[in-house]
């Protein structure tokens, strides 16, 4: 839809890393019993990616499943797909105790790319960003300075961040400050 406007309209910044707001990311919150094979089958069937383990992030192209808590997943898809997949999930999970909510509009997403991606995040999140502790395939639900956020590595030097839409500008400015030229830590 042409009227679509994300929080920052795709803002970007080039510093220690390249920071970009993703134009639109489809996201569906899923809550259910991971121990129930019926739930897992229905979810992985619709998502077309496999079930992540604890703190896992299985992202395959446009689709992904992120482990958000022992009973919560975040499904990634294109923005346009989100309402369709949400309806499919509702149908596939009919009769099961679960919750499906399209939250694509509730969030803002950013990508970080560059050799200092880990260090930029380590300035804002109390997370061990070293290579032997955190790598692609894992998601962290944490905070960036004063607001809640989640992120996962898209490559060894790239990351995607999800935060609430209302604080998109704050998070973008945080990322700008943390990737200001000259602020390399060179620890990670």
């Amino acid at each position: 839809m042409s009227d679509l406007a994300t929080a920052l309209d795709g803002a970007s910044f080039d510093g220690l890393v390249k920071v970009e707001e993703l134009h639109a990311q489809g996201m569906i919150t899923l809550r259910g019993d991971f121990g129930d094979p019926g739930f897992v089958t229905a979810v992985t069937g619709v998502a077309e990616v496999s079930m992540p383990g604890q703190r896992g992030a299985i992202v395959d192209g446009r689709r992904g499943l992120l482990w958000m808590s022992p009973d919560e997943l975040l499904l990634l898809c294109t923005y346009a797909e989100a309402p369709i997949l949400a309806a499919k999930l509702d149908a596939a999970l009919a009769g099961q105790h679960c919750l499906v909510a399209n939250v694509s509009d509730a969030r803002a997403c950013f990508t970080l790319n560059g050799a200092y991606t880990r260090e930029v995040l380590a300035k804002l999140a109390p997370v061990d960003m070293s290579r032997d502790s955190f790598g692609p395939g894992e998601v962290r639900r944490t905070r960036l300075a004063q607001v809640a956020a989640a992120f996962w590595l898209t490559s060894d030097d790239g990351a995607q961040i999800v935060c609430f839409r209302s604080v998109a500008e704050y998070v973008f400015n945080l990322l700008k400050a943390a990737s200001a030229p000259g602020s390399e830590v060179d620890f990670l």
Partner: protein, 1006 residues
């Protein structure tokens, strides 16, 4: 005079000249100098005035322990007080001014205090300025503020132009201190495979050993440090950082590091300071030791310096403190200073050794160099005011009778060493008194312990009380290996380095020089240079009954302020214990608290300043509001428009206009901030009935109901409209500020109490932009947008429907917080702005008026609707507000039910909600109290009610208010008095129904 020597200075680059100024005078130094060494090289011996007596003070130390050389550094926006000259690296253009001087460093009016020093004893302020009480604020305090104190605070409107940041680091072993102990510990730990971070507060590695020398593994100490650094740099699991101080050690292996990145290079890019927030499995503190001064009369006169510092300046910076230096000591180490000076071609007229037997091999070396050594002696008194001119030598055992007067221009003193135990102690590490070496050292059996009951801090080297190089290395190696193993490393380390050092004779504790010094001498024997505390002050405190070292600290100010007694602590408590006739360990130390040395406020704040000081939450329509005159109101972290102010309008006029336009035609409110929480599951109905006071399980799909939520204590917590979405799904609207809180409240009950109930919740507040379309023309504008049927029949009051409007996917609610015909339309947030624009376009013909929170408040007050936070304050139950209709009597239980049955909650004397109308039509002051007859036990006027909301109603053109009044609902029509803020002026107001506007509700139900 102090000057630059022709040779030596391992840290300076003589080919590079650096310009700087101090006290308005221009000087030059060399690259590698500290401000202190550069000042000394320029014979600027005096650097400030003391705190109380304004006595001339010179540099005493060469590192973080320096108490005197505190300067105002920089100018204008870069101005920063209390910067230590000894840890300030010199850079081109550095500007510093002395502190606590007036009118000038050289001639200071406050120095008259010195003549009154017999009066300005410990506790002087407490004793003197007690009475008359009013004098404190207006006479004493302003005077003391002028005369006492350290640096100048920056001007209030100054904004620091530098940037700061935090950094989270996780390591197996953190080693604090880059001397030989730290290097050895890091090397051993690194070799076992542990991930090691080694940090050093200065720019240079090797610590004291670089000055004191020694032989390690058959090479010079300097070469060993170089080689070890090389080894460490080649290890991929080891990180080395200089200019990074271990500031504090906290629970769970959390350590704060303070990195000074551009203090020495102010024009460099990047943050000025970085606060490292480190999680270490094990922390090794290899923080070295600090030399203690000796307490003799005049030991604070410029030209008296710690012996080790005299040596540091000579070796590191090629600076001599004076031509003729008397060395006074109670241990062998100070002989190194005499030997160093002598070898540099300077004169050492005498080494005054308090020990009867003198020293060991170092003394022999000094004697061989032709230096006169007098044992069993001390300094009775020092001559000179702004500079030492001579010293009187006496027997240490006596009362101070002069044996010789020795002319000199510098005195190097050493009272022994104290391990830097601060970081060990921060998180509970205990100390033990070492009788032989006369210092407190860490007690390894009482270490700071982690959650597993094991020590998470280890100490290495001289910080651990090991004072000889060979022992230091052995200790550090052992500790490095233990820490790495505890942290999980499994590799094996190479052999620990071995040092070859001269043996030293034992030191002898000297707490006062001479030991029987008479009062007049004790009155001039300083313990704490920074706070002007003398031996006589501590003795007086003991005499007056102060037994606890903590109380004595506060009474005398010993060990306070920016240096926290790094030099004075041990001497002070030894003096106290002598005065009390107790042993030193019985008296104990004061508490060591972080940070080790002061860290900048900027580093603590990190990135949180300017536009990212705090998150500001913005709705999808925020930008429109911004460009259309929004007068903002903070609501939680949101900014909501209070009113949209047009050119030429006051805020009040804008609110007035918005109310009338909405009541008469069409208003729009950005309601996106209201909380929206989905509750879903087979047990959701049961859960909803527990959460809300009213029945929610029987709400029909497609319908809405207003509900109240209480805490388990019965108090009203939140309110909002609940919509039944499908058989097992409810959507709860919360207040703007309540969204996260209520979601957390629900999750808490589900996770802790009703964990077996099949209910899931999701906070989808930000998924939707929501617009309230309000006023008699609300339906017309929606019909104009086209799409779903919004007629009374298709979408009755208190119902909702999904559909489309102008092509937007919407959920439309027929709910009203204004009393008008009203819809709330929810659209996906990313379409919010477009939908808002569409409404404005379509509403133009109805004079559509976006309105703010104040208009919302007035319209709800006109209707008698309560507002969480206005009518409630955490002590109000729904019954107080006449909301009994919303409290189910059928339900067996809900949160708050039991509490609301308690006697105080059912007390008929609880104030109840009523409407209030002033007799003269004016607006009651917010929060005003209704007065009652008589006064209470405290002599305060009795009250019988208070105003909770008060506005001028544009609709009714008079003041309206809501309030809680004793027996209010039974007193309709009665006129009571409300007091103005002065407590005297009374305003008469009539008790009326809180519903001022359309009591039958006809307008909202059309």
């Amino acid at each position: 005079m102090s000057t630059r020597l022709a040779k030596a200075g391992r840290l300076i680059d003589r080919s590079k000249t650096v310009n700087f100024s101090f006290d308005g005078k221009r000087f030059t130094g060399h690259q590698g100098d500290t401000l202190a060494s550069a000042l000394l090289a320029n014979n600027q011996m005096m650097v400030g005035r003391s705190f109380k007596y304004h006595r001339p003070r010179g540099i005493v130390a060469s590192g973080a322990e320096e108490p005197n050389a505190l300067v105002n550094l920089g100018t204008d926006t870069h101005h920063e007080p209390n910067q230590r000259a000894t840890t300030t690296e010199l850079f081109d253009g550095l500007t510093a001014t002395p502190q606590n001087v007036w009118p000038s460093l050289d001639f200071d009016i406050g120095a008259v205090n010195s003549y009154a020093s017999r009066l300005l004893t410990a506790g002087f302020y407490y004793k003197m300025f007690m009475y008359p009480r009013a004098f404190w604020k207006h006479v004493y305090e302003p005077f003391i503020r002028q005369s006492a104190g350290l640096g100048k605070a920056p001007a209030p409107e100054t904004r620091d132009p530098d940037t700061y940041e935090h950094f989270y680091a996780f390591v197996d072993v953190l080693v604090i201190g880059g001397g030989v102990a730290g290097l050895q510990a890091a090397k051993t730990a690194g070799e076992t495979g542990a991930k090691v971070l080694l940090i050093e507060q200065t720019p240079d590695w090797g610590g004291r050993t670089m000055v004191d020398g020694g032989e390690i593994d058959g090479m010079s100490a300097e070469d060993w440090v170089k080689a070890t650094l090389q080894t460490l740099e080649n290890m991929s699991n080891v990180t080395l950082r200089t200019r990074l101080m271990g500031a504090g050690v906290y629970d769970h292996g959390y350590v704060l590091g303070y990195e000074r990145l551009t203090d020495h290079a102010p024009n460099a890019q990047g943050p000025r300071h970085r606060l490292w927030r480190i999680r270490a499995k094990q922390t090794i503190t290899a923080t070295g030791a600090i030399e203690r001064p000796l307490s003799f009369a005049g030991n604070d006169v410029p030209g008296v310096m710690l012996a080790s510092a005299v040596r540091d300046y000579a070796v590191n910076y090629g600076v001599s403190l004076g031509d003729r230096t008397v060395v006074v000591t109670n241990n062998d180490d100070a002989y190194r200073t005499a030997i160093t000076l002598k070898k540099a071609g300077l004169d050492v007229p005498m080494i005054v050794d308090a020990r009867d037997a003198g020293g060991g091999t170092l003394m022999d070396e000094a004697l061989a160099l032709g230096i006169r050594v007098e044992t069993g002696c001390g300094i009775a008194k020092l001559h000179g005011k702004k500079r030492v001119t001579s010293v009187d030598i006496c027997k240490q055992a006596g009362e101070g009778a002069m044996l010789w007067n020795v002319e000199c221009d510098a005195v190097a003193m050493s009272g022994g060493w104290s391990p830097v135990v601060h970081l060990w102690s921060h998180c509970g590490g205990k100390l033990t008194w070492d009788e032989t070496q006369a210092f407190f050292r860490p007690d390894p059996t009482r270490a700071p312990k982690g959650d597993d009951g094991n020590a998470f801090v280890q100490v290495a080297g001289s910080a651990n009380g090991e004072m000889h190089l060979s022992n230091i290395l052995q200790d550090a190696g052992n500790v490095g290996e233990i820490s790495a193993k505890v942290a999980g490393a499994t590799g094996s380390a190479s052999a620990i380095s071995v040092a070859n050092v001269q043996s030293e004779a034992p030191m002898q504790p000297v707490w006062l020089m001479p030991q029987g010094a008479r009062y007049g001498l004790r009155l001039k024997a300083w313990l704490d240079f920074q706070n002007d505390v003398k031996v006589s002050d501590v003795q007086l405190a003991a005499h007056e009954g102060y037994e606890s070292v903590e109380h004595t600290k506060r009474y005398t100010t010993l060990g306070m302020a920016t240096d926290q007694g790094k030099l004075s602590n041990i001497n002070g408590l030894a003096t106290l214990s002598n005065a009390l006739g107790e042993d030193i360990p019985q008296v104990g130390t004061t508490t060591f608290r972080p940070p080790y040395t002061p860290i900048s406020m900027g580093a603590i704040a990190g990135e949180a300043r300017g536009e990212i000081f705090q998150p500001i939450r913005k709705t999808p329509m925020h930008d429109w509001h911004e460009t259309n005159g929004a007068h903002w109101e903070p609501v939680g972290h949101w900014r909501r428009p209070y009113a949209f102010v047009k050119t030429g309008e006051t805020v009040k006029q804008a609110v007035h206009r918005e109310v009338l336009a909405t009541r008469n035609s069409l208003g729009l409110l950005d309601a996106s901030t209201l909380g929206k929480v989905i509750v879903k599951g087979p047990d959701a109905g049961k859960f909803m009935d527990m959460m809300y006071t009213n029945m929610m399980s029987n709400l029909k799909v497609g319908k809405c109901r207003y509900g109240l939520m209480c805490s388990e204590n019965g108090f009203l917590s939140d309110d909002g409209v609940v919509a039944r979405i499908d058989d097992d799904t409810w959507l709860c609207h919360t207040t703007t500020g309540g969204a996260d809180r209520i979601h957390a409240h629900m999750e808490e009950w589900l996770q802790t109490e009703w964990w077996d109930w099949k209910v899931y919740t999701a906070n989808i507040t930000e998924q939707l932009a929501q617009v309230a379309v309000v006023g008699p023309n609300a339906r017309k504008v929606l019909e104009k947008l086209g799409g779903m049927d919004v007629s009374k029949e298709a979408l009755p009051f208190m119902e909702w429907r999904d559909g489309e409007l102008a092509g937007f996917p919407v959920r439309a609610y027929r709910i009203s917080f204004s009393g008008e015909l009203s819809y709330e339309i929810a659209v996906p947030a990313n379409l919010g702005r477009a939908f808002w624009d569409k409404l404005l376009e379509a509403g133009a013909e109805f004079d559509v008026t976006p309105y703010g929170t104040e208009c919302l408040h007035i319209m709800r007050a006109e209707k008698g609707f309560i507002m969480i936070g206005d009518e409630t304050d955490g002590t109000i139950i729904p019954q107080d507000l006449g909301l009994n209709w919303a409290i189910s009597k059928k339900k067996e239980d809900f949160l708050g039910k039991r509490a609301q049955q308690r006697s105080h909650m059912t007390d008929p004397k609880r104030w109840k909600l009523v409407g209030l109308e002033t007799v003269d039509g004016s607006v009651l002051p917010d929060g005003a109290y209704a007065v009652a007859e008589g006064s209470n036990a405290n002599g305060q006027r009795n009250t019988q009610g208070r105003v909770t909301s008060t506005y001028h109603s544009p609709t009714l053109d008079k003041g309206i208010a809501m309030g809680l009044v004793l027996n209010g609902p039974d007193r309709m029509g009665e006129v009571i008095d409300f007091a103005e803020a002065d407590g005297e002026t009374m305003i008469k107001a009539k008790i009326v129904s809180p519903v001022f506007y359309d009591p039958e509700g006809e307008k909202q139900n059309v």
